[in-house]
């Protein structure tokens, strides 16, 4: 295909945001004074100037057709002067200065299939990744589990009935696209079988020294197999990280029988109260159960329920566990504690219980 280099435009960067701001936002930029959540999914910001803007937050499915985007544009044209925004968690926000329009907007959104909520002490959209929709590395689907989980915990999206915010995220493999590692609840796709080596092609598609070097546990060694130069993998050294597969397509880890999902809890990002924390392993493995992953869904519902009943006001999951202790988390949720929960990576020793601070 011939490319016309003359008129070609590059390196222009994104459009400047200013042109997209609703007038009330532009005029009160930097002048906001306080806000209130008027009801689930509806936020009022009040400016030093006395101006007010009402924000209606609608759940997004992230994967959107252009048809839907156009329908949403219609809505924004009708009620919001042709402006809208998305949030850092894939939700869609409609802003208006006209308080009386709030309910109409909510109704219109409902017709489009987009419920309003996810504010304050609630669960908002699940940050997630590609899964079987697009990624070669996925150990599970993304959008499907997300949909199943959100359906099951929808009441906590639509109502502010939790002790604190609860942020759920999903990543379909250990690359962890998204902030999965710091989520109140993280759903993580895992492989459990070492790469099945495509000996015939390996040499053609990958450089053997690079492949060996890519393995963090040094499980991969150059080897001649059935006469061709290839590699061998010491299976019991493999921790299924897929770094080798990222580097070399002849080492696929995807495996229908063994891939699945692990659950992690207690992470957070904000500095509010306790410092940001990583999520920790709760359930090492649940097999893939498409289309609605009932075991994953039930496990999450259970964790949320136990937390909801046991936590104090403003205690996010990790903060709650820090107070009651991990042994009580396992006791109260009924999740069995296993060998897999005990860290054995580089800093493992620092995760052992190095005091006699125990409950009985």
């Amino acid at each position: 295909m011939a490319i016309d280099l003359k008129d070609r435009i590059t390196d222009i960067g994104p459009p400047h945001y200013e042109q997209f701001l609703p007038p009330v936002i532009k005029e009160n930029y930097g002048k906001w004074k306080y806000h209130e959540i008027l009801k689930p999914g509806v936020l009022m910001h009040v400016s030093e100037t006395g101006d007010k803007v009402y924000t209606i937050r609608a759940g997004g499915s992230r994967l959107m057709s252009i048809k839907k985007i156009r329908m949403i544009c219609d809505l924004a044209d009708k009620y919001c002067g042709g402006h809208l925004r998305f949030t850092s968690r894939h939700n869609i926000e409609f802003m208006t200065t006209d308080e009386s329009k709030i309910d109409e907007i909510i109704e219109a959104l409902a017709e489009l299939g987009h419920p309003v909520g996810g504010m304050g002490k609630s669960i908002t959209s699940i940050v997630h990744t590609q899964g079987w929709i697009h990624c070669h590395s996925a150990a599970t689907d993304a959008s499907g589990i997300v949909k199943a989980v959100m359906d099951a915990i929808f009441e906590h999206y639509a109502n502010m009935d939790l002790p604190a915010k609860c942020r759920i995220a999903l990543a379909c493999c250990l690359n962890m696209c998204g902030a999965v590692h710091c989520s109140d609840i993280a759903i993580l796709g895992v492989h459990r079988r070492p790469p099945i080596i495509d000996h015939k092609n390996l040499r053609k598609v990958c450089e053997i020294p690079n492949v060996s070097a890519s393995c963090p546990t040094a499980a991969i060694r150059p080897a001649t197999v059935e006469g061709v130069a290839s590699v061998e993998i010491i299976e019991e050294m493999c921790m299924f990280c897929a770094n080798c597969y990222t580097v070399c397509p002849a080492l696929p880890l995807n495996n229908a029988l063994n891939d699945g999902v692990s659950l992690w809890v207690g992470g957070k990002v904000s500095n509010a109260r306790q410092e940001p924390m990583f999520s920790k392993l709760a359930v090492p493995y649940i097999e893939n159960e498409p289309p609605r992953w009932p075991t994953v869904v039930n496990s999450i519902v259970n964790i949320i329920d136990v937390w909801r009943k046991d936590a104090r006001n403003y205690e996010r999951i990790g903060e709650w566990i820090n107070r009651i202790g991990w042994p009580n988390f396992f006791k109260k949720t009924g999740i069995p504690f296993q060998k897999e929960h005990i860290d054995d990576f580089k800093h493992a020793g620092l995760t052992y219980k190095r005091s006699a601070h125990l409950t009985y």
Binding site: D141, Y157, A158, C182
Partner: protein, 404 residues
Amino acid sequence: MAEKTSETPLLDELEKGPWPSFVKEIKMAAETNPMGSDLLNLLERSYREKICHWKHGGIVGVLGYGGGVIGRYNDLPEEYPHIAHFHTMRINQPAGWYYSTKALRTVCDIWERHGSGITNMHGSTGDIILLGCHTDALEPTFQELAKNGFDIGGSGSDVRTPSCCLGQSRCEWSCYDTMAACYDFTMTYQDEIHRPAFPYKWKFKFSGCPNDCVAAIARADISFIGTWRDDIRMDKDAVLEYADRGLDIQKDVVELCPAKCIAWDGKELCIDNRACVHCMHCINVMPKALRPGTDTGACILIGSKAPIIEGAFLSSVIIPFFKMEPPYQELKDLVEEMWDLWCEEGKNRERIGEFIQRVGMGNFLEAVGVEPVAEMVAHPRENPYIFYEEYFEEEDEEEEEADE
């Protein structure tokens, strides 16, 4: 009877329930574009077989750019020919993800002409993801987008599309103009976004306050988190109003303050601002009564990333407080200093966070010319393995540099 009413019985299950359904979205796209129906059918097959059908990506892209397109081919191209090529294009979102419907419609129109009509609004890094493009369509899509003011983001070992919370545009707590900063850095580093030249990826994220609504501390090689140095502003009447409306200030604010620096006697709230660690909690609970101070700026942190391969990191403090004023020259100088060092001495696929850990924060600071300060550490070292760098020789009783 052999023919079933639907070809995607498993996926159809995901049309049920109150949450918006991505399956419905794919079906909407499929109404006008065969890529959509191929995708639907292939996904149904994945649901049946519990495995994905995408091959390891190849290198595809647009002329002169080293990233921004993720190559993707399915492994059954005869059966699903319309998505034999199914690349994604990462398109820079506008800072704060604000759009006019006009701009959005333009993107839709272009994507209707050239691609699958399926998008992610947005990807995890923040880009508009145009999902499903044939190799031949990449360049025309790009040029049409460019003519309409949109550009491609990053992938591979380059700067990724920076992102920010909505900041001062609608949030009263934003301690600097996140959208302005995000835009400015994005424009300054166009070359680094489009032409990968680093050991690995580099992400900028900007949050206006310690609530960190873009999760900057968890997933940016450099994280700008707004904060303040002076006193929390207080409206005493509004405090009483919250108390009157039933807020248990002792339990829900005082006892949760991590610095234990708030006192409440039922009438007055007292904050020891020198002890406050700027966590935002009291402000979050009483937005009408409390606000960050007016001597604002950002705490700048470095090095967060996902677990591959040294384990996940959170960013760590490199500049405890910086007045975020354009053109941010000092910061850019520092960023470039860090890049130079990392490019010179970083290993392939080594993020800056891993690099710092490998060479040691102390050495890293020395190399980029930043003074060590106690704010950079949670606590000083516990082990006695100090690399003292100089010693005296018997002969001269002079301090000698150990050669490095």
